[in-house]
């Protein structure tokens, strides 16, 4: 869980900065040391853990610092700009800034950026960018104009993307926002227009960004109090083309919409961001940490003396102005989990805390999503981030697909779905797939004749679904006895309830052979295992099964032999021809591997008819014998059930149905052999125990022999 620790004040003397707050807080080349530039004339180097200044430098009276001081990580020197054009470079030993190195530039500097591992960059107010070295070589060089007139740089950030520096800056012109991404490797400048969300006209108040694998995620806090996210591609497909980017809402009303100043946000990590501002119109300003994944407030801290709307985050420390003092609040975050997020949510609902109303309830938004289609769409916009670099960003593909599902024919849906699946996967792919499945199932329920088997197969095979994401799917499949889908689901879903597992088992046991014959079942694991084993023990086993029950039902060896008898059958036919391997495949791959808890499974197992449970028992017993054939006690094939799984299921079945099974004449032989088997196991165990005891005695004797020597003279060499 995210945790804001007790903060402390960095400056004992209030910054002489007035209401604007400091110009900037920047890292220095030593950990724990930060450069604080106030908006007047002074740069102070602080050691944060000691809460004391290490050095302070001022420019002359009459001069004014216009750009926060940064540290050149390559040389350890500090750089500052005063009076827009004058660059000063000094180091720790220098006492007086006036005597430090000075370079007067030909254009006004907006900001100097410096990060670890590369040379500092100078961004000019006109949008041009220069490396520091190149600039110092020729300070009076001509600086071109990149952005248009009246366009003003609002915010800028410098990243390293795969060891290549990338600079992003946002400009504003008449309420429109533009993003520029400058890559220095390829010297490419891409320009994007930021389209604001649905509301259109609102002022963006603060930006923050983080860099991912393919996108720069730009977060902005708007004047309506919501946080929006924009994904800017790092490697655009057509870099030269003028493109538009859509913002999507990420968090709703994190700060009061009416708050005009003193709001800021910064990204803490992948899932967390810190927001500075008043949560309610009347309330005091707060620093709050939000989890974007779960949309929950993680923690917050009130700043009763007000703040300036500036927030910096380095390492583990958040810097902000609290009243007149620069305050540091250490921040810690452990990996976020659902339980953690919900726990906090629950906790905050305690009476007494006033922060409750502006939570986005994670649970209700989910419920709505499952509920009706219409409300779902709007909600989803809230929950999703969307990237559309396409020319028509208006209708997302998933929405289109959902519409298709509602009305079009099965064939058409299939085609559309295939198209959709072929496109790139977005981060929320699994929820979209879940919605699609729910849409399909909703239609199934409405129209009994509609059952898009192929579509569902495709969707399940995307490997992103789980039982809880589409709770109705297995019920519908059970209703339609769609063994194929059930098998796939059992293989892939990690969270199937025991009742459903049991229902599947019942279907698998009761389904007619002819029906099975027509369906296409994944048999990869059973195919190896059908090789007939021609040794005496196996023969005996076959005989037993034939006596015990209808051999056609269950005996795989028998089936395999049958296969051999039909050499004319093609390979394809052979997989679909024998009945039992298919059923075996169902059992083996699907049921035996599924996760369960005995407590919940047992009551459901009791409902299985006696004949069926006997059949299943016989099959399990057969598997066991197969297992015990080799020394490693494993079955051949890919993903075979383990011996433990087999034994557990035998025990479970017997536990559940013993009174019934014991009455059935067909099961008598099976039970007898199981009984004999258990008896022999017990005798083996007791023999092993006896051996263990004698071994222990031997060991004791051995030890005594070693210890008995009460006195010896030994040679020891010390090295």
């Amino acid at each position: 869980m995210a945790d804001l620790e007790e903060g402390f004040t960095l400056t004992a003397v209030p910054l002489g900065s007035g209401p604007d707050g400091p110009l900037g807080v920047e890292q220095s080349d030593k950990t724990d040391q930060f450069l604080v530039t106030d908006s007047g004339r002074t740069v102070i180097l602080y050691k944060v853990s000691d809460q004391k200044p290490l050095g302070s430098w001022s420019v002359k009276q009459g001069q004014i610092i216009t750009c926060p001081a940064v540290c050149n990580f390559q040389t350890g020197e500090y750089i500052v700009v005063h009076d827009n054009k004058v660059l000063r470079i000094w180091n720790n030993e220098d006492v007086n800034l006036d005597k430090a190195f000075k370079a007067t530039l030909s254009a006004e500097v907006y900001r100097i950026h410096s990060i670890q591992g590369t040379e500092p960059l100078v961004l000019f107010k006109e949008g041009a960018v220069r490396g520091l070295e190149a600039l110092l070589a020729e300070p009076q060089q001509k600086i071109e104009t990149v952005i248009s007139d009246e366009e003003v740089i609002k915010w800028t950030k410098f990243f390293m993307v795969f060891r290549h520096p990338v600079l992003i800056f946002i400009t504003e012109k008449h309420g429109n926002y533009f993003a520029y991404v400058q890559k220095f490797k390829s010297r490419v400048l891409s320009k994007y227009t930021l389209l604001l969300g649905q509301e259109g006209k609102c002022v963006i108040q603060s930006f923050s960004s983080s860099v991912g694998r393919k996108f720069i995620s730009l977060m902005s806090l708007s004047s309506d109090g919501c946080v929006y996210e924009t994904l800017i591609p790092i490697h655009p497909s057509e870099p030269e083309k003028y493109q538009r980017l859509v913002q999507s809402q990420l968090l709703k009303s994190v700060v009061s919409g009416s708050a005009q100043n003193g709001v800021a946000l910064t990204i803490l990590d992948q899932d967390h961001l810190a927001v500075l501002g008043a949560p309610l119109p009347a309330s005091k300003e707060c620093l709050s940490v939000w989890n974007t994944k779960f949309q929950t407030l993680q923690t917050s801290k009130e700043l009763p003396q007000g703040t300036s709307g500036q927030l910096w985050y380095y390492g583990e420390n958040l810097f902000m102005l609290h009243g007149k003092f620069l305050t540091v609040i250490p921040y810690k975050c452990e990996v976020s989990s659902l339980a953690g997020a919900l726990g906090k949510l629950k906790h905050s609902q305690d009476p007494g805390t006033h922060a409750t109303p502006h939570f986005v309830n994670w649970e209700t938004s989910q419920e709505c999503g499952l509920g009706s289609q219409k409300s779902e769409q709007s909600k989803r916009i809230l929950r999703r981030r969307k990237v559309e670099v396409s020319v028509q960003p208006e209708v997302p593909a998933s929405t289109q697909l959902l519409a298709t599902i509602q009305k079009d024919s099965e064939k058409h849906i299939e085609v559309e779905l295939r198209k959709f699946l072929a496109t790139k996967r977005t981060p929320d792919f699994h929820t979209i797939i879940g919605d699609v499945v729910i849409g399909l199932l909703g239609r199934c329920k409405a129209e009994p004749s509609f059952y898009p088997h192929n579509c569902l197969m495709q969707l399940v095979q995307t490997h992103v679904l789980s039982y809880s994401l589409c709770p109705g799917l297995m019920e519908v499949a059970l209703e339609k006895t769609d063994v194929q889908i059930l098998q796939l689901c059992l293989q892939q879903f990690p969270d199937i309830p025991e009742s459903v597992t049991c229902a599947c088992l019942k279907v698998f046991l009761s389904i007619g052979d002819d029906t099975l014959q027509d369906t296409d079942i994944n048999m990869e694991s059973v195919s190896d295992y059908m090789d007939p084993v021609q040794d005496g023990e196996m023969e005996e086993q076959t005989a037993f099964l034939q006596n015990g029950f209808n051999p056609e039902e269950d005996n795989c060896d028998n089936c395999a032999q049958k296969l051999k008898e039909k050499p004319q059958a093609t390979a394809d036919e052979s997989t679909s021809c024998p009945i039992t391997p298919k059923r075996a495949a169902l059992f083996r791959n699907a049921i035996l591997h599924s996760a369960y808890s005995e407590m919940f499974l047992l009551p459901h197992l009791k409902d299985i008819p006696a004949q069926h449970s006997t059949l299943f028992l016989q099959y399990l017993y057969f598997l066991y014998l197969k297992c015990s054939e080799n020394a490693t006690m494993t079955l051949p094939g890919t993903h075979p059930p383990t011996l433990n799984q087999i034994m557990d299921w035998i025990c479970l079945l017997l536990d559940a149905n013993f009174t019934v099974v014991v009455m059935i004449p067909e099961a008598k032989r099976l039970l007898l052999s199981l009984y004999k088997f258990v008896k022999s196991q017990i005798s083996i165990c007791s023999e092993l125990n006896k051996i263990e005891v004698s071994f222990r005695e031997l060991q004791k004797l051995n030890q005594e022999k070693n210890n008995r020597e009460l006195y010896s003279i030994e040679v020891l060499e010390l090295f």
């Binding site: 165990c685 006195y711 003279i713 030994e714 040679v715 020891l716 060499e717 010390l718 090295f719």
Partner: protein, 686 residues
């Protein structure tokens, strides 16, 4: 470094006594431990769990209860019916008071520390007032039917719970009248046992009483109503001890099966404030009965018949997860029980009530590293010397020439003269010991066996000249400025000029034996001294402290040596500092003045001061001998600490001559074999 012939001795048949009681003192972070032979030991938990003091036992004084009162005062009571107070400065018994109630089974000091309560065999509970120099009987509580086995004060001092047989009584502390009685079920697993003995009670501030009994139950009672609130069946055997933390949020119980259970007060659900006692952690560090437990703020402490003292830190209470958070198991005393006459190759072993003298064997064969050489002569048991009287031996020593043996109990000092004629030994006791030589904390002979140094428990040091068949008192060094500070460790220089003595806490004093005056005092260090020795030729005093620091102090120059300063500047290797047993003996190579031999229980180390010190990156323990390596590499990897862990647990290591070492081992299995059999627990398949 060279090859040594090591006499590996395992015939020192030493068995530590079982632990009977432990008492933890929160103020000084010290732990008092009493053993079944009556010995009481004080461990300083702040000084790396060093056993800094001990009081010798007495045959008739089996302690049954031990407690701290009035801050730092230590009391014990036992089956002889006496209450004893210990003098922690002079390391003697201050006084003994008979309670006149038959054997005493239990004792508890009031929360304010001003009153002492004892529970007796005749069912009486007696209240004593603690005065500054004694204790005074004040009142009897209402007499109970049978013996009082456990007592506990309410933290406010208003009530007292007393565990007897089959019931628990609650007394009003002011009037001494019994106001409640809680009957304990005799049933044990459905079978009615004869009696249910309440081995321990604990009174909590909310009126809850926790009892542990012989039926394996931990029961939680409401003392106001006398009702049973909760019953935990934790064991098939007796639960013998209980200790509650000061915060009353956790307690610990010890069972006769060797298991220690930790109980904690935890919330029923995450949100509710309702709390209940839950058994959280079982620990099985003992094989036999856990007779005593204690609960320090950060650790569970347990001890029992298997003689180990186990300190198990609670990980949730430990702030820094360093080596201090590791489990400690203390088995052997932190003092020397073996002395050695190098020239005659004799070993003197000290037991509780007797001494044994052994002569080492010899061999003519030679071999390479790891070989066991054939013996041409086996070790001989020469002498078995029993002391008269019920008192335990405090210390003993054999002179370097082998001609003298001295030992002392709490009230008598023995000096013997030995004569060797071929294989015959004649022993003659030197009679008429002077009055001042009644008991000694430490005895030492000079290297030439002409002088005897005795540290008495009054803080004085006696110097005695030994003559053929007699002795002559030369001088007594009196303690400094009247402070009674008993000297526990002595060291004399081989040339006989210097005598170093260290007390339990203050610095080391160095005396000039020729001029009979105090020469200097080594600056005091925070941690107690565990071993002392003076090097030949250089007269450098080597001091080992319980925090594993080793200092070298030049006596002639009255300052730390250059090597010691270098070591302190660079610091010891972290693995050296993490050892958990103290160095108990230091000696020197007779021919190589640069070499220092020191040992603890699990290793011995030969320090070669001429080699570079190891830093944290180098391997401290060199397990394998270098093979087929050039001398260059060997020289580069060589460092000053040559450590061998081959022999353990070690009670004594010394250099007999330049090529011979003697190592006295005491394998734990041999100790276990001599303990009474533990409660048989059924294991699967046996």
């Amino acid at each position: 470094m060279g090859e040594f012939n090591v006499h590996r001795v395992r015939f020192f048949n030493y068995v530590p006594s079982g632990i009977r009681c432990v008492a933890y003192n929160n103020q000084s972070n010290r732990l008092a431990v009493s053993r079944t032979d009556g010995t009481v030991e004080i461990y300083n938990l702040s000084a790396n769990y060093f056993q800094e003091k001990f009081f010798p036992g007495h045959e008739s004084r089996a302690t049954e209860a031990l407690c701290w009162a009035k801050g730092q005062r230590l009391f014990s009571a036992g089956l002889n019916g006496e209450i004893i107070e210990y003098d922690l400065q002079a390391l003697t018994i201050k006084y003994a008071v008979d309670a006149f109630g038959g054997p005493i089974w239990s004792m508890a000091a009031s929360p304010s520390g001003s009153q002492l309560l004892v529970g007796c065999e005749d069912g009486s509970v007696k209240l004593f007032q603690i005065t500054p120099d004694r204790i005074q009987f004040e009142r009897n509580f209402d007499r109970q039917k049978s013996r009082i086995l456990s007592l506990s004060w309410h933290p406010a001092g208003t009530h007292v719970a007393a565990g007897s047989i089959d019931y628990i009584s609650v007394f009003d502390a002011k009037s001494g009248s019994a106001i409640g009685k809680m009957l304990v079920d005799r049933q044990y697993m459905g079978v009615s046992k004869r009696k249910c003995i309440i081995w321990g009670v604990a009174f909590l501030s909310d009126g809850t009483v926790i009892s542990v009994d012989s039926a394996g139950k931990v029961q939680i009672w409401d003392s106001a109503t006398g009702t049973l609130v909760k019953n935990h069946l934790v064991s098939n055997a007796d639960v013998q001890s209980i200790a509650v933390s000061d915060q009353e949020d956790s307690f610990v119980v010890g069972t006769a099966e060797g298991t220690v259970f930790h109980f904690q007060l935890v919330s029923v659900t995450s949100s509710s404030s309702e709390k209940q006692w839950v058994r959280t952690k079982p620990f099985q560090h003992h094989t036999h009965d856990v007779r005593a437990v204690a609960h320090s703020p950060t650790a569970l402490i347990s001890g029992g018949t298997d003689t180990h003292l186990v300190i198990r830190p609670l990980m949730e209470k430990v702030e820094v997860k360093n080596y201090d958070a590791a489990l400690r198991k203390i088995t052997f005393p932190h003092r020397r029980l073996v002395s050695c006459a190098k020239k005659k190759q004799l070993l003197l072993f000290q037991f509780t009530h007797h001494l044994e003298l052994w002569r080492l064997g010899s061999t003519v064969a030679t071999g390479k590293n790891g070989d066991t050489l054939p013996l041409s002569k086996n070790a001989d048991h020469l002498l078995h010397l029993k002391t008269k009287g019920p008192e335990n031996i405090i210390c003993s020593c054999i002179s370097p020439c082998g001609g003298w043996i001295a030992c002392s109990t709490a009230s008598r000092f023995f000096l013997y003269r030995l004569n060797y004629e071929h294989d015959n030994i004649t022993l003659q006791r030197v009679s008429k010991m002077p009055v001042f030589l009644r008991s000694a904390l430490q005895i030492l002979f000079s290297e030439d066996s002409t002088k005897l140094f005795v540290a008495s428990n009054q803080g004085s040091l006696h110097v005695i000249r030994l003559l053929e068949g007699g002795f002559k008192h030369l001088h007594t060094f009196q303690p400094q400025s009247g402070a009674v500070q008993s000297m526990c460790l002595l060291a004399v220089s081989p040339d006989g000029n210097w005598l170093a003595a260290s007390g339990t806490s203050a610095g080391v004093h160095v005396y000039n034996v020729k001029q009979l005056k105090l020469h200097c005092t080594v600056p005091a260090y925070n941690f107690p001294v565990t071993a002392l020795a003076i090097a030949p030729n250089t007269n450098n005093l080597v001091i080992a402290h319980s925090d594993q620091q080793v200092f070298e102090y030049s006596i002639p120059d009255k300052q730390y040596t250059e090597w010691s300063r270098t070591v302190q500047k660079q610091g010891f290797h972290h693995l050296w500092l993490q050892r958990d047993t103290p160095i108990t003996h230091i000696s020197f190579h007779p021919k190589r003045p640069m070499h220092i031999l020191l040992h603890d229980t699990y290793m011995f180390c030969l320090i070669d001061k001429s080699l570079p010190l190891p830093n944290d990156k180098t391997l401290l323990y060199n397990p394998l001998p270098p093979r087929n390596e050039s001398d260059v590499i060997r020289r580069r990897t060589a460092h000053a600490f040559k450590i061998s862990k081959k022999y353990k647990p070690l009670l004594f290591v010394d250099l007999l001559d330049e090529k011979t070492l003697v190592a006295v081992e005491r394998p734990l299995d041999d100790i276990v074999a001599q303990l009474p059999p533990p409660i048989k627990k059924k294991k699967f398949g046996t």
